[in-house]
């Protein structure tokens, strides 16, 4: 067994520097690497590029990094629900690259799986396709999209073992598995870190080969953005 465990978030983020490109898992605030984000705030790394489907809310998730002006560029598919983000974007302080959600996921997966680029129909005929190679297959038009290159991927899983094998819970899975192994170093924080052998190999979502560092996360807030419920009859 090749051991991937590190002591804590500080050792997990060793090597993080200004100007780097990070991938961060999560959809809205669901399945975000809360511990890694808090540590990035503490380290005050700046001039960073973040590849993340969303940009958090004003006071949580990536919103915490935005508030401190640590982010130079955001690569996302949807950035509503964040006033500070909108302000920085419209004033030109923040560079924003909006990418269709499926393309964003696939650009991560392509990096993970060793594809330099791929064709997708998403965005054909729109401003997203401007300046990109277009090619026809079987009568339909496709846009060439390139795999991302990132320095670190910050991933949140539910359970993980010492070997870096991961299991996700519910829709907190989202972009997290696609980002594992898609950056030079993949750092995973988990709610439950267990010894090797405790997870059933049949039930692993992401094998440990895609993970360089894994640590036991702490103090998860797991905020709910839209608490919708129904009344009991």
């Amino acid at each position: 067994m090749i051991k991937k465990t590190v002591e804590d978030v500080t050792s997990a983020l060793e090597g993080v520097k200004d100007g780097m490109t990070f991938m961060l898992g999560g959809f809205g605030l669901c399945g975000i690497p809360e511990n890694a984000i808090a540590e990035l705030v503490r380290l005050m790394v700046t001039d960073i590029t973040c590849i993340s489907n969303n940009a958090g809310v004003d006071d949580f998730g990536l919103g915490l990094l935005l508030k401190k002006h640590q982010i130079r560029k955001m690569v996302s598919s949807y950035v509503g629900e964040n006033d500070e983000f909108e302000r920085q974007m419209l004033s030109g302080e923040l560079e924003v690259e909006l990418t269709p959600q499926g393309t964003l996921a696939e650009k991560c997966r392509a990096a993970q799986a060793g594809f330099p680029a791929f064709y997708t129909p998403a965005g054909y005929g729109t401003e997203v396709a401007e300046g990109k190679e277009i090619r026809e297959f079987n009568g339909k038009m496709y846009v060439l999209e390139h795999a991302y290159k990132a320095d670190f991927a910050f991933v949140k899983a539910w359970k993980g073992d010492e070997a870096g094998n991961l299991i996700f819970k519910g829709t907190a899975r989202n972009f997290n598995p696609c980002m594992c192994g898609a950056a030079k170093i993949t750092v995973v924080e988990v709610e439950q870190l267990v010894p090797a052998g405790e997870l059933n190999p049949n039930e692993i979502h992401v094998p440990g080969i895609f993970v360089q560092r894994i640590f036991q996360g702490t103090n998860y807030e797991k905020r709910i953005e839209q608490r919708t419920v129904r009344k009991r009859d």
């Binding site: 959809f27 005929g125 797991k222 709910i224």
Partner: protein, 217 residues
């Protein structure tokens, strides 16, 4: 004239037995409330769930189980979770039978705009561009006119496009329309709405042949 629930109710009739359906945010989300319960349908949410159920009972919300609108949800027996690349593989690979989404503008050539108002609102396209580029069966759910009273069914879209030539059917508060080479073909009128009223609210070419039936909801 229909309200948002009325639009959802009419669209629910388009949902057939055995369909996998992707619902967008807003009016489309309401469609799930009106689907007949004697047919088998699974709702897909692009953030990674098939087999979405209703909102949870108070106290049973789980931060790890949400829909694309970031609302807490439940799952039904037979549900599954998956990652975002798999989710869009379902969409791109045409495994989803019906896509229902909102729009700011639809043009008579089937173009759709729903993600950006330059200089004003830039929230992003989310999964909309992937959905409209691949889905073969797309229904747009929207009000016929915007808040300023201007038509949302146009000759050409004025806003940045989400997709080209992809919309087939539109259900608004006033009408059910089909996108055809000749323009918006009027299929049904909302209860109490005349063809003239629909013509007035439609900037694009409206084709109204013969007697147009009122929607049965």
């Amino acid at each position: 004239m229909l309200d948002k629930n009325g639009i959802a109710k009419r669209i629910a009739k388009e949902v057939k037995d055995g369909y996998y359906v992707n619902l967008g945010i807003g009016i489309p989300t309401l469609v799930a409330n009106f689907v007949r319960d004697d047919i088998s349908v699974e709702f897909q949410s692009e953030n990674g769930v098939l087999g979405m159920g209703p909102f949870p009972f108070e106290g049973e919300e789980d931060a790890d189980i949400i829909n694309a609108g970031k609302q807490t949800i439940t799952t039904l027996p037979g549900a599954s979770f998956f990652d975002s690349a798999t989710s869009f593989g379902m969409i791109r690979g045409k495994h989803v039978d019906l896509t229902i989404l909102g729009a700011m503008e639809v043009a008579e050539n089937g173009d759709i705009a729903n993600w950006k108002i330059p200089g004003k609102m830039v929230k992003g396209m989310g999964g909309a561009m992937d959905l409209v580029a691949s889905a073969e069966n797309i229904i747009v759910a929207m009000m016929h006119t915007n808040r300023a009273g201007a038509s949302k069914l146009l000759k050409r879209c004025s806003l940045p496009l989400t997709g080209v030539g992809c919309v087939k059917k539109i259900v608004t508060n006033l009408a059910v329309l089909e996108v055809t080479p000749d323009g918006f073909l009027l299929l049904e009128r909302a209860p109490g709405v005349s063809v003239e009223e629909i013509e007035k609210a439609t900037e694009g070419t409206l084709v109204a042949d013969g007697d147009i039936p009122e929607m049965a909801i």
